[in-house]
Amino acid sequence: MLRDVSLDVKPDEILIIIGPSGAGKSTLMRCINHLITPSSGHIYFKGLDIPSLHGDQMRACRRRIGMVFQEFNLVERLTVLENLLIGRLGYMKPLEAFFQRYASEDIDAAEALLTRLGLREFALKRADNLSGGQRQRVGIGRALMQNPELLLADEPTSSLDPKTSVEVMETMAELARERHIPVLVNMHDVNLARRFADRIVGMREGRIVFDGKKEELTNDTLAKIYGGDSWMH
């Protein structure tokens, strides 16, 4: 449930949305790449009004937006390499994709990315053999294989331990900055958000209640976002 949400993401920016469970953070993400359709309103992406797109146009738009998921959502029984190459499917003809006739450049790009993510040796292992942190790296790799113009990350660290969470966020921030991709992240963890965000947006009950630099995020605003302040002490 989203109400009167108005938000624009600037290029090269890491924008982190925080807020309690059920605030509408995930819904917002899924509207942006049209996994769900909002009942009304507009979402503009490079001049395209996303909710109004259908069929091929919608898929062509989706491939320009990479998405990283809370539970990684890797296809467990495919190899790590095949999972990365899922990021290229949107660019391939249906039959090419069906018979896995990937372009050589795509395979080389996947290899380079896997090396970068420290997963080169796992390339041909099945995704269900990996640990949580490794899986999320594959998730990031898959999204980046799309050559996206925007990266969405829906609670990318909620299934990871604190140390791995920081490492995964570092990898994601680093790779996104290199490629000048703006990133929109959802998370619960306020400290992690402070550490990586250029800008923080606080949501509560489907509305935006805070939007500003991380330095402006005070305990008072946090109390407004999450309700009450007893949890902070």
């Binding site: 996994l35 320009r64 959502n73 499917l89 949107g90 994709a97 069906f98």
Partner: protein
């Protein structure tokens, strides 16, 4: 209220007041015993109606002993050409019908899955599959023998229909149990519908599909040895004819061959399933 609930809530069974309450209390205490008694009584009644008595059973065993003596030694030689031809025919019917059944079930399994398709598609598909499963293969066999005549074609069609009925349903269930998170991730990459099926759905179900296909082949092989009784091809026809001519030594040979074939099949399908786990 059962005994445990009463003990947990620390309440006593209320003392019955009035007639209805007494009746209810009686059934609560003795309901299970009454049901068991009725069930045992029906069992005795049914046995008496079927004319089964100790005398009849002991006579049957004596007859059985005579029959068993006449089965041995098995005679593989006299009708070997017929037996060989029909055994191979049974095997061929089972293999071809399984392959046809699997190929038809693959699209039907995807089209019938409620997590992938709207109900206008799943409804007719599910109805068709239920219909294919509604009758025992012998009954479908009789219909096909009437329609296309005696011979292996009728058996082939029968077992193809039976296969769709069973594996179609199992495929649908397998597809409905997949993780939609993996599917969503493939969709989010901008992949076409075909790619979503190929990379999001099929990897999650392929191993189970192979397992179901092997089970269906096991089942088809067993059924292909009986379909001959209604004239739909395979070893069943020769077996039935041998019974009717009292050629019990030939019956024995055929039965031993069927047992051998089934054991071989169990061994092979176990190996295949293990490879694809």
């Amino acid at each position: 209220m059962d005994a445990l609930t009463r003990r947990f809530l620390k309440t006593q069974e209320p003392v019955p007041t009035g007639g209805m309450e007494k009746v209810r209390r009686f059934f609560r205490f003795y309901g299970v015993q009454i049901l068991l008694f009725l069930f045992a009584a029906y069992l005795l009644f049914a046995l008496s109606r079927l004319g089964i008595s100790p005398k009849r059973i002991s006579e049957g065993f004596t007859q059985g002993k005579v029959f068993l003596n006449r089965l041995f030694p098995p005679d593989f030689i006299t009708r070997w050409d017929d037996i060989r031809h029909d055994m191979l025919e049974s095997l061929e019917i089972a293999i071809v019908a399984s392959i046809i059944g699997i190929f038809l079930s693959l699209p039907l399994g995807l089209l019938g899955a409620r997590n992938l398709m709207p109900s206008v598609v799943t409804w007719p598909v599910r109805f068709f599959i239920s219909l294919a499963r509604a009758f025992n293969p012998i009954i479908i066999g009789i219909i096909f023998v009437k329609a296309v005549g005696f011979g292996p074609l009728a058996g082939l069609l029968t077992l193809s229909v039976a296969s769709v009925g069973f594996i179609g349903k199992l495929f649908i269930e397998a597809v409905e149990e997949i993780s939609m998170k993996q599917v969503e991730a493939v969709r989010a990459s901008g992949a076409s519908f075909l790619s979503v099926i190929r990379f999001g759905v099929l990897p999650q179900v392929s191993a189970r599909f192979i397992g179901f296909g092997m089970y269906q082949f096991d089942s088809n092989l067993r059924n292909s040895t009986t379909l001959g009784i209604v004239g739909a091809g395979g070893i069943g026809g020769t077996l039935f004819a041998a019974y009717q001519r009292f050629d019990y030594r030939i019956v024995c040979a055929i039965v031993l061959l069927i047992i051998g074939l089934i054991i071989l099949d169990e061994y092979v399908s176990e190996r295949v399933r293990r490879v694809f786990q």
